[in-house]
Symmetry: C2
Subunit: 155 residues, 2 copies
């Protein structure tokens, strides 16, 4: 077994910062959403996705595809959101297996109130703090790292 190439001190620093960021940013987003709207990131994603489609309702499987989530993850979250009164579910008209998802009144109110604040958070933290050049750099960098992960078949 060849000795692995350990990280240099500099690399270690970047790696630590990177890992902290990977944990910290999503947590911050969660806190912002929860504080301002009582929503989790997942709940926000669902409300945003469903409110974004034209007919105002969505099949649960399509939702999973849109969000790139596992079916069961969607199912669990929808159950909790239904019990909170954020969404409504009924069997699909065309396919007896399917579930039609739509927002309740409360769901609409919630997403309408939450969206501006959440977009504000994203804009202020991600876009206002980075130049256009840096945004391009970030995109490039994410793409490369993602590519390397995909190559290893771990994405």
């Amino acid at each position: 077994m060849p000795e692995p190439r350990w990280l240099t001190a500099q690399e270690q620093e970047l790696w630590l910062e990177f890992r902290e960021f990977l944990w910290g940013f999503p947590s911050a987003m969660d806190r912002q959403l929860n504080r301002d709207s009582g929503l989790s990131t997942g709940e926000y994603s669902v409300l945003a996705a469903v409110s974004d489609v034209a007919p105002g309702s969505l099949r649960s499987g399509d939702l999973a595809a849109t969000l790139q989530w596992e079916r069961s993850r969607v199912s669990h979250l929808l159950r909790r959101m239904e019990s909170k009164g954020l969404i409504e579910r009924c069997v699909a008209s065309c396919d007896g297996r399917g579930q039609e998802i739509k927002l309740s009144e409360a769901g609409w109110d919630t997403i309408r109130a939450a969206a501006p604040q959440h977009v504000g958070f994203v804009r202020e933290t991600l876009f206002d703090s980075l130049s256009t050049t840096e945004q391009e750099q970030l995109r490039t960098i994410l793409g490369k790292v993602r590519g390397a992960v995909v190559e290893r078949e771990l994405w």
Copy 2:
């Protein structure tokens, strides 16, 4: 209430990619660790942290400080790791409240086997795929975004 500045199409794209990355990279890391060593990211962090200190044992609170985790998170994970036989706990000699954490034999074997592969993953995905310049750019960008989040008191 002023109409928020919504995201442009370009911004939306970066934002989506960013969010996917924030979810995807840690998941990939988890998969790598679990596949190669049967460890979760958290378990790896604990083994790495404890194995890194000179005396080979650590107070649970110091571990929490090192990892920047909440005490209860550490406590829960240590309980699970102890039941798996990865670590051992005993009351601290100098302070009856404290817990001394040390790796079991199995814990040592596990971290010794896991570390090279994990470092390999990090190196191949993060460092080999980015130029030195890009690594610097990434560091700058993360710092700026983090700063903006900190300013909003959400980090």
